[in-house]
């Protein structure tokens, strides 16, 4: 690493403003100064709309800078973007693979564009193939790869020739934990073995923890930067673990803690509750729970930073404690409640390919049920069958007492559905969207007005009521999708990767609402790639290759990952263990 003397990226007072068509201006970046040291791994983290993507695009020379100076590899990017683009590797959020070209053709295209000589290719290709495990698929069209494989191919395309700097914009969004781990192994190896400087953005805070340097961006401003330990230190001594009161799940107990103004963050953590408190002395906690001090994580410090920023004012309030109606007491204990979703030996074939292979499970009223699994495991197929969007090739399924595929259309009145990408009408305003879905569900007159007003306040959509659906920021889109799915007060709510790509704050807010709904007796079925979120569920099922590998309460699943070396595995450890075990073993096994 000869030229490793100075930083590879140096930004001073960067500013970038966007002008919307509606006339408003958005300050995407404001006085941002940062550096990326040679041979280091730097992460950009922060809420959606914080300016991460804008910053990476500026570094890549894809956008003009409004204010400040930015040098990349010693070159002023604004003045000579091509000189930078000749030397860096860049993977955009939605990597632009040509889906109608094969894996090999995509690689060749980028090798040709970078002018990689044939000799180098012979050396480089086997390495890349081994690293990404794409070897068996070189002749497959890129469009037919799974999400994780696409990301790996995208990465391989940027690495066909050794770049002097690697830029990755949210490389792990929508990628399952297994593929995510593999991607990180690649990135780690690049930094460690080749001394390649990497700048990446991510919504996974545990990923930020693995970086040497972290830049926290919020609303275009740098909240903090430094080694992750520095952020972690903010929460040192303020992080506690507590056990939920007997008879209550961690999720149910959370709300009680969050009502305390001194509590900045509370989340379930391995059957217990992790709490971050502000500096004020610990008062007697609800239910006189015992607070055990815990080692702070990056996420804890991050929540403190955001909380402090929000209090300084200026901007979106953090999830306000909403005036939720008092939860109706659960009518019966979960065990005695009747199943509202029953799946027996469900099979779905696409030609010769079996996407879902004889799966069975029940979901009871008021339960939160999680479907987990790697990309291509059959989660979405199962989901679509449950919602009546796809017919089953075999087996039976009953949702709220009916097969939605075959039963009367009115049976769908009982379900709500939030698709993977929040699908709403982009050309209609928020209000018109709600109005349409209310009518679609047969609400009219006074009742419709009432429910729309409820949705507006409950999801705080008032300020954007007249904005077009297509122009909403990420957080609002998700809220609107939820609101639209809940207008008709469904008994069952289906959420397909509803938090994919959402920042930690939005995820907390989301789970707060889900908890409330479950308390009111709504049954909820979710899929997610965030293993930590599985802790919010009452029960989860892990799917792979169309089969249920394990099913049970979070604690039971976690127990499956217990080994001598790892006595207290996280959900992610357990997940990977279950999958790898199943893939290694000859026959899939059905857990309790």
């Amino acid at each position: 690493m000869a030229a490793a003397a100075g930083p590879v990226i140096r930004g001073r007072g960067l500013g970038k403003t966007f002008h919307r068509k509606t006339g408003e201006t958005v300050q995407a970046l404001d006085e941002v100064s940062f550096e990326v040291a040679a041979g280091s791994l730097t992460a950009l983290v922060g809420p959606d709309g914080g300016g991460k993507t804008t910053l990476i695009r500026l570094v890549a020379g894809l956008m003009g800078l409004d204010r400040g100076e930015l040098t990349v590899l010693g070159v002023d990017v604004g003045a000579d973007p091509q000189a930078v683009q000749d030397r860096i590797g860049y993977m955009p959020q939605k990597f632009g693979l040509y889906e109608d070209l094969t894996v090999q053709e995509n690689l060749d295209l980028y090798a040709d564009l970078h002018g990689v000589p044939a000799a180098d290719r012979r050396r480089q290709y086997p390495q890349l193939m081994e690293m990404t495990a794409l070897e068996p698929f070189t002749r497959r069209l890129a469009g037919q790869l799974s999400g994780g494989m696409k990301q790996k191919l995208g990465l391989a395309c940027t690495l066909v020739r050794a770049p002097a700097l690697l830029l990755l914009d949210e490389p792990t969004v929508g990628v399952d934990p297994l593929s995510r781990r593999e991607l990180w192994d690649i990135i780690d190896a690049l930094v460690r073995d080749q001394g390649l400087p990497v700048l990446l953005s991510t919504a996974y805070l545990d990923e930020a923890e693995r970086c040497e340097h972290v830049v926290v961006l919020r609303q275009g401003k740098v909240l903090a930067q430094g080694p992750p330990a520095q952020v972690r230190a903010l929460a040192a001594g303020r992080t506690f673990l507590t056990t939920p009161p007997a008879g209550q799940s961690a999720r149910e107990a959370l709300a009680g803690f969050l009502d305390d103004p001194a509590v900045i963050d509370a989340s379930p953590d391995g059957g217990r509750i992790r709490i971050v408190r502000d500096g004020s002395p610990a008062p007697p906690s609800p239910g006189a729970a015992v607070l055990e001090p815990a080692t702070a994580r990056f996420e804890d410090g991050f929540m403190m930073l955001l909380q402090a920023a929000a209090q300084r004012g200026g901007g979106v309030p953090t999830p306000a404690a909403e005036p939720s109606p008092p939860p109706p007491a659960a009518t019966a204990s979960p065990e005695r409640r009747e199943p509202v979703v029953e799946v027996r030996d469900l099979v779905r074939r696409f030609g010769a390919f079996v996407a879902v292979d004889q799966i069975s499970f029940d979901v009871r009223r008021g339960e939160i049920f999680g479907l987990l699994g790697p990309n291509g495991a059959g989660k979405t197929t199962t989901f679509r069958m449950l919602c009546g969007l796809l017919s089953a090739s075999g087996g039976t399924l009953r949702v709220a007492g009916a097969d939605l595929r075959r039963g009367a259309a009115s049976a769908r009145q009982k379900i709500g559905y939030v698709a993977q990408k929040f699908s709403l009408y982009g050309q209609l305003s928020v209000e018109e969207n709600l109005d349409f879905f209310a009518s679609a569900y047969g609400l009219h007159g006074e009742r419709r007005r009432e429910r729309i007003a409820w949705a507006m306040t409950q999801f705080e959509l008032g300020p954007v009521a007249h904005q077009l659906g297509g122009q909403l920021a990420g957080g609002y889109t998700q809220r609107l999708a939820m609101a639209a799915a809940l207008l008709h007060q469904p008994q069952i709510l289906f959420l397909d990767e509803a938090t994919s790509g959402a920042d930690p704050l939005a995820r907390r807010e989301f789970w707060g609402r889900i908890t409330d709904l479950a308390r009111q007796g709504v049954t909820i079925i979710v899929t997610t790639h965030f293993m930590a979120e599985a802790e919010y569920c009452d029960r989860i099922a892990i799917l792979d290759s169309g089969r249920v590998l394990a099913e049970g309460a979070p604690a039971e699943i976690r127990a499956l990952g217990r080994t001598a070396a790892n006595p207290e595995p996280t959900m992610e450890d357990a997940f990977i263990a279950v999958i790898e075990q199943a893939r290694a073993g000859p026959a899939p096994r059905q857990a309790a």
């Binding site: 091509q82 955009p92 040509y98 295209l109 002018g115 995208g154």
Partner: protein, 384 residues
């Protein structure tokens, strides 16, 4: 730092990149069913439709003849209609039937030979009534003209037999010559016009769609952050569709020559030169539209309205620009297709008339240059 590479090395690298982009584009065309539909199926369909289905020549028009006079003169008149390739005649018994057939569109016209026709013809003041359905004015006019000719012919014959009174005076007689198209076949001008439509579709429509698609799918973002230059991207886009357009051209020329036997009187180099210029204009137009709009839907709609419709209506391909009102003719000067149509019709039917080709080619060359320069300016390696 990189040592400055020699000039030739840089050029080689540039050519390699261009070759890679062209190869990629070519594969995409082959694999996308809708590209195939627009690039191959549509031209073939148009060739067959224009060659076989459409004909501006009126043939087999159904007419009725109501002959109320049994005499020879009257029968001769009827026979001349019956033998004409222009008409399909049927005999009608009464005026009421004639009316009914006209109203039900079973016939487009009725020739009415009154009972006293031959008697009065001998006296020199017979009249032959023609009723035509004026809705299709063109057909109506042809029926009228033909009826006039048939009557005149009958008159001439009678004169030759020395019976008629009309023989006593000479008259002006039109002797017509149809240059370039002595067979008077409308395919002669429809097929060359077809080439214009196909080149416009492939050049402008496809190019605008594929460039907009790259913006929409985000593939440009990754492509931009490579050593690729903007001109290389543009050349990579232009070349495949340029070649595809030439393929369409050859297909049409072959069909014109061997399927429809349209004469080709010009020279192949002149045809290729003119076509390449117009292809360049089309492709550049497509590039410009799509880099401005960045949405497949809008780009295709705008391309249709801005390039295809004018090429169909305002290029002189079907409707002669010499007979349109002045304002419309002025607008037609803005339509590049008009210059190409002029060159094509001349090349096919008249030959290498350089006094026609050169000025029209010059206009196209200027338009191509301007559009390419604008497209180059409109395409930047920047987002948002």
């Amino acid at each position: 730092m990189n040592a400055p590479r020699p000039q030739s090395g840089r050029l080689v690298a540039k050519l390699r990149r261009i070759r890679a982009l062209i190869g990629k584009e070519g594969r995409q065309v082959m694999r996308d069913p809708s590209s195939f539909a627009i690039g191959v199926i549509l031209p073939l369909m148009l060739i067959l439709l224009f060659g076989y289905g459409m004909s501006l020549d009126v043939r087999h028009t159904p007419i009725g003849v109501l002959r109320q006079d049994p005499a020879r003169d009257a029968r001769e008149i009827e026979a001349s209609f019956r033998l004409s390739p222009y008409f399909r005649t049927r005999s009608i018994g009464s005026m009421a039937e004639a009316q009914e057939l006209m109203q039900s569109h079973a016939v487009n016209g009725v020739v009415l030979i009154p009972p006293d026709f031959s008697r009065r013809a001998a006296q020199g003041d017979a009249s032959l009534q023609i009723l035509v359905d004026g809705v299709d004015g063109n057909t109506a006019r042809i029926i009228e003209a033909y009826a006039g000719a048939a009557v005149a012919q009958a008159g001439v014959r009678r004169a030759a037999e020395g019976q008629g009174a009309a023989a006593s005076g000479g008259q002006a007689v039109v002797v017509s010559q149809l240059w370039f198209n002595s067979a008077n076949d409308s395919r002669y001008f429809l097929v060359p016009g077809l080439i214009v439509l196909i080149i416009t579709l492939i050049g402008a429509f496809m190019t605008s769609m594929v460039v907009a698609r790259e913006w929409e799918r985000g593939t440009f973002e990754a492509l931009f952050v490579t050593p690729v230059r903007v001109d290389e991207i543009l050349i990579g886009k232009v070349t495949p569709y340029f070649l595809l357009g030439l393929g369409g051209l050859l297909l049409c020329v072959a069909a014109a020559r061997f399927l429809f036997h349209v004469p080709f009187r010009g020279s192949i180099p002149a045809l290729m030169g003119a076509s390449m210029l117009y292809l360049l204009v089309s492709v550049a137009g497509g590039l410009l539209i799509s880099s401005g709009l960045k949405s497949q839907f809008l780009a295709s709609q705008v391309t249709l309205v801005v390039t295809f419709m004018p090429a169909l209506m305002l290029s002189g391909f079907i409707y002669d620009l010499r007979s349109v009102p002045a304002p419309v003719r002025l607008i037609s000067y803005l339509v590049p297709a008009r210059y190409y149509v002029t060159m094509l019709q001349t090349l096919f039917l008249a030959g290498d008339v350089w006094s026609v080709i050169l000025p029209n080619a010059a206009v196209l060359a200027v338009v191509a240059t301007v559009l390419l320069a604008l497209a180059r300016r409109a395409t930047r390696k920047t987002l948002g």
